[in-house]
C-alpha cells in the first residue's frame, strides 16, 4: 500500500493534512497522538501583526456542521517564527504548510517572504478567502484580478511552492482558479468556508457577534467535492481538497475528484484523533477498493 503523494515536488508520507485554523500550531494535538504521522498540517492563518480576532460568540452549530467567525486570531508572523516553529521542530519533521493572510498586498508579500525562508516550511498557503475579516482576506479571493495580483506578488518573493486557498463564495470558482494559475500559483487549496449565519430564536438576534460566519463540516462535503472536481478540470496545477472530510472514504472521494492531497478541518475539533484514525483506516479502505497507490487515483473520477 502506497499512501505517499507529491505536491509540487514536496513529498508527503500520506495525503492527510489537518486544515488551517483547526489544528493551531500543532501543540494541542500532541496530547492525543504523535503528530509526526501526518502528511503535513496547515498552521493557523498567520498575519503580519498579532490579532485578537472578532468579538464573541465566534461559533454556532448547525446540522452536520458548524459556523465560525474567529477572524484570524494569531500571534503574528514574528512570534510564529520565533516561538511556534522552534517548538514544533522537536515533534514534527514533515514539511509544514504555512497558511498566511493579510489585509494589504504588502502584508501578504512580507509574510510570504519571511515564512518561506523557514526550513520547516514545505508549502505556503495563501489564504485569500477568509470570510470573517473585513477589508481583507476574502476581498482578494472573490475577484480574479486581485487574486492574480496577490498571487503574482507573493510568487515573486516566495522560495517555496505557493498554493492559493480559494473561496467558495464566488460565482465561478474556475475563473479565479485559472487567474491564480496564470499568475504563477504552484497549486490551489479549496475550499475555505461557506458564508452562513444562525439566529437565536429567543433573543431574535444573530448567534455570532460578527453576524455571519464560515460554514464547515460534513454539511459542505458535496459542495467542496463538486468544486474540486470542476477546478481539476480547469487547471493543470495540483489541488489540496478540503471541506467536510471526516473519514478515509471521504479522502478517497476527494482524491477521485481531483485532490492531490486532502485537508481535514472541523472534524479535528469534535474528534481530536480523526486524522490519526483516517491514516490508520486508509490501507484497509484502499484494499477494499483495489487501490494500491493513492497517487494513481487523483482525478480518477474524470473520464
Amino acid at each position: 500500500m502506497d499512501l505517499s503523494v507529491t505536491l509540487s515536488g514536496v513529498k508527503l508520507q500520506n495525503p492527510v493534512i489537518p486544515a488551517s485554523g483547526c489544528f493551531g500550531y500543532g501543540q494541542e494535538f500532541r496530547a492525543f497522538y504523535d503528530i509526526d504521522m501526518l502528511g503535513s498540517f496547515s498552521c493557523k492563518g498567520t498575519t503580519l501583526e498579532p490579532r485578537f480576532g472578532n468579538e464573541l460568540p465566534r461559533v454556532a452549530e448547525c446540522a452536520s456542521g458548524m459556523l465560525n467567525a474567529v477572524g484570524l486570531q494569531n500571534p503574528g508572523i514574528h512570534a510564529v517564527i520565533a516561538e511556534e516553529l522552534p517548538r514544533l521542530k522537536e515533534h514534527f519533521h514533515q514539511p509544514l504548510i504555512a497558511n498566511i493572510s493579510g489585509f494589504a498586498l504588502e502584508e501578504y508579500t512580507q509574510c510570504c517572504e519571511m515564512i518561506s525562508q523557514c526550513e520547516q516550511v514545505g508549502i505556503i498557503e495563501l489564504n485569500i478567502s477568509c470570510p470573517n475579516v473585513h477589508g481583507g482576506g476574502m476581498a482578494f479571493g472573490v475577484c480574479p484580478k486581485s487574486a492574480a495580483e496577490v498571487t503574482a506578488a507573493c510568487k515573486k518573493v516566495s522560495a517555496k511552492p505557493l498554493y492559493v486557498k480559494l473561496s467558495p463564495n464566488v460565482t465561478d470558482i474556475c475563473e479565479i482558479a485559472r487567474a491564480c494559475e496564470a499568475a504563477g500559483a504552484d497549486g490551489l487549496s479549496l475550499i475555505n468556508t461557506l458564508l452562513g449565519m444562525r439566529i437565536d430564536l429567543k433573543a431574535r438576534k444573530p448567534v455570532l457577534a460578527n453576524k455571519f460566519g464560515g460554514l464547515s463540516g460534513p454539511a459542505i462535503f458535496p459542495v467542496a467535492l463538486r468544486m474540486v472536481y470542476q477546478v481539476f478540470g480547469a487547471v493543470k496545477i495540483p489541488i489540496m481538497g478540503m471541506g467536510g472530510v471526516s473519514n478515509a472514504r471521504d479522502v478517497i472521494e476527494m482524491m477521485l475528484a481531483g485532490a492531490g492531497a486532502v485537508q481535514v478541518g472541523a472534524a479535528n475539533l469534535v474528534n481530536p484523533y480523526v486524522c490519526k484514525e483516517i491514516i490508520e483506516e486508509l490501507p484497509a479502505v484502499m484494499q477494499q477498493l483495489d487501490i494500491t497507490s493513492l497517487k494513481d487515483i487523483i482525478g480518477g473520477a474524470h473520464t
Partner: protein, 247 residues
C-alpha cells in the same frame, strides 16, 4: 485531557429542567480536578457540549445539567446502559489556595463544580462555606449534599426557599479569606465588584463561553485578560480576579 466512552449509570431529574447524570468507566485512569469540565458528544449534534464536573470518585463521574436547548434536551433522554463519548479533564480548574474559610458561590448550574471543590477542600482540612443561588425553590438542588460537607446558605431570587436575594446578598455577613465562584456572568461581575480585597489568586471565577473544540485548537473561546489573550477552554474557565477584563 483524555477522550473515552462512558456508560450511563443514571440520568435523573433532580429539579425543574435539571438532571443529574452519572457516568462510569472501568479500568481507566483519569485525573480530574475541581473546576474542570468534560465535552460530551451527544447523539445527533455536531459540536460537543461542555459540562462541569460535579463529582469524581475514581469510577463514577457525576455531572449536573439544565435543559436549555436541543442538545441538553437530547441528553436528558439517555438511559442507563447507553454509552456516551466524552473528552475529559478539560480546562485549568480551580487552584486551591491556603485559606481557613473559603467561600464558594454558585448560581444555578454554576453550583455543580463547587460541590466537587467543596469535597476536595474539606478533605484538605479547610472549612468552606457554600452559598447556593437559585431562581426559585423548584430549581434548587444539592442543598443536602453541601450540608453534609460544609456550612451552606441557600438563596432564591423569589424567596421561595432559603433566603430571598442573590448570592452576593449573603456575602457581607460572611467572614472569608478566599472565593471560588461559578454562575451567570452578571453574578460573577457582582461578586467581582463586591468581594473584599483578598491576596492575589484568592478570588477565582469560572466563566462560560461557546466552544468549538474545548481543548485549545480553534480559538473561538478567547477572551482578553490583563495577562494577554486566554482561551476559556484551556487557560480558563477559571480566571483570577486580578486578570479579568470585563467587556
Amino acid at each position: 485531557m483524555q477522550i473515552t466512552d462512558f456508560a450511563v449509570v443514571k440520568n435523573e431529574q433532580i429539579a425543574r429542567d435539571v438532571f443529574e447524570l452519572q457516568l462510569s468507566i472501568v479500568n481507566y485512569q483519569l485525573s480530574i480536578a475541581p473546576g474542570q469540565f468534560v465535552n460530551l458528544q451527544i447523539d445527533g449534534f455536531y459540536l460537543r457540549r461542555p459540562i462541569s464536573i460535579c463529582g469524581w470518585d475514581g469510577e463514577t463521574l457525576t455531572l449536573i445539567y439544565k435543559i436549555v436547548g436541543q442538545g441538553t434536551a437530547r441528553l436528558a433522554q439517555y438511559e442507563a446502559g447507553e454509552t456516551i463519548n466524552a473528552l475529559v479533564g478539560l480546562g485549568n480548574g480551580y487552584t486551591p489556595v491556603q485559606a481557613e474559610r473559603p467561600l464558594l458561590l454558585g448560581g444555578g448550574v454554576g453550583v455543580p463544580p463547587l460541590y466537587y471543590l467543596a469535597k476536595e477542600l474539606a478533605k484538605a482540612g479547610q472549612k468552606p462555606i457554600a452559598v447556593l443561588g437559585f431562581k426559585c425553590a423548584d430549581e434548587s438542588f444539592y442543598e443536602d449534599h453541601f450540608r453534609a460537607l460544609c456550612e451552606t446558605v441557600v438563596m432564591t431570587e423569589d424567596g421561595s426557599h432559603g433566603q430571598e436575594g442573590f448570592v452576593t446578598h449573603a456575602m457581607p455577613g460572611i467572614n472569608y479569606d478566599a472565593i471560588y465562584a461559578c454562575g451567570p456572568e452578571a453574578m460573577l461581575r457582582a461578586i467581582y465588584e463586591q468581594a473584599k480585597e483578598l491576596p492575589p489568586g484568592h478570588t477565582q471565577l469560572s466563566f462560560e463561553r461557546r466552544m468549538g473544540c474545548g481543548f485549545g485548537a480553534c480559538m473561538v473561546c478567547s477572551c482578553k485578560t490583563v495577562t494577554g489573550y486566554k482561551r476559556i477552554c484551556k487557560e480558563g474557565p477559571v480566571l483570577t480576579k486580578e486578570e479579568i477584563i470585563w467587556t
